[in-house]
Symmetry: C2
Subunit: 124 residues, 2 copies
DNA sequence: CAGAATCCTTAACGATACTG
DNA sequence: CAGTATCGTTAAGGATTCTG
């Protein structure tokens, strides 16, 4: 089940690393509010670079989580939207984010304890 | 809420990248079966290097998700175990893994469609 | 047994400049 | 507007060697 040559495991692992990358979750959550154009996404997520937004959207599109609709006008218009599959991913992501928000306090406290113990050990 | 200078957001983002790293989820799931010694973990996760296992466990310990118990014998014995906080994280992780397993098929199909369309575009 | 330290390669990412 | 292409930096991770 955790054999890395197993294709199912590889897919799960790839998905987890997507979730863990810097932008995927932000993009999915933004698209959760509805369809967005490329530069609308950039404005909603100011810290993302053009390059990273492009790559993130390409990956999401390739995995079937986001649809890309091109309107060949001048200037061109491209709309991104969550697919049904993409929408279904929101729930487990939300579970994780909620857990994190509920437990920020405990985590920070644990980190403070750990770092204090480290300092003490180094000082000694 | 998605301001990267907000400490809560930073914690959430750090947690997500932990989930997304190569080993954290595997280690948490292995420890979910019960307490393990260092080399027991290595045997259960053969692909992890000693260095990465050490780093992963340190991070988990610092975040308060895993406890580390040293028995100063010769040879030394170190046991790792999920804390209550760590156990509570299993549920949202499971939600994500379950989603992934349920949708591997759809994802692979989407990737195949995407790649086929790419090839066609390149060939043209 | 459980690690710390070091070296090295690769991949991620940001910044910038250019294009249909 | 919505990208692509290229470059340079940083960080992740593996392999190896050494130690209490």
């Amino acid at each position: 089940m955790r054999d890395p040559t197993n294709p199912v495991c590889r897919t799960i692992s790839t998905l987890l690393s997507r979730i863990g990358d810097k932008w995927t979750v932000l993009v999915v959550q933004t698209l959760g509010q509805g369809s967005h154009r490329f530069n609308e996404l950039r404005r909603e997520i100011p810290s993302v670079s053009q390059r990273m937004l492009t790559l993130t959207l390409r990956n999401l599109e390739r995995d079937g989580l986001v649809s890309r609709t091109v309107t060949p006008s001048i200037p061109p218009r491209v709309d991104y939207e969550l697919t049904e599959l993409g929408k279904s991913l929101q729930k487990p992501i939300c579970g994780l984010v909620t857990w994190a928000m509920d437990n920020v306090g405990s985590i920070h406290a644990a980190q403070a304890r750990f770092d204090a113990a480290q300092d003490k050990a180094v000082a000694a």
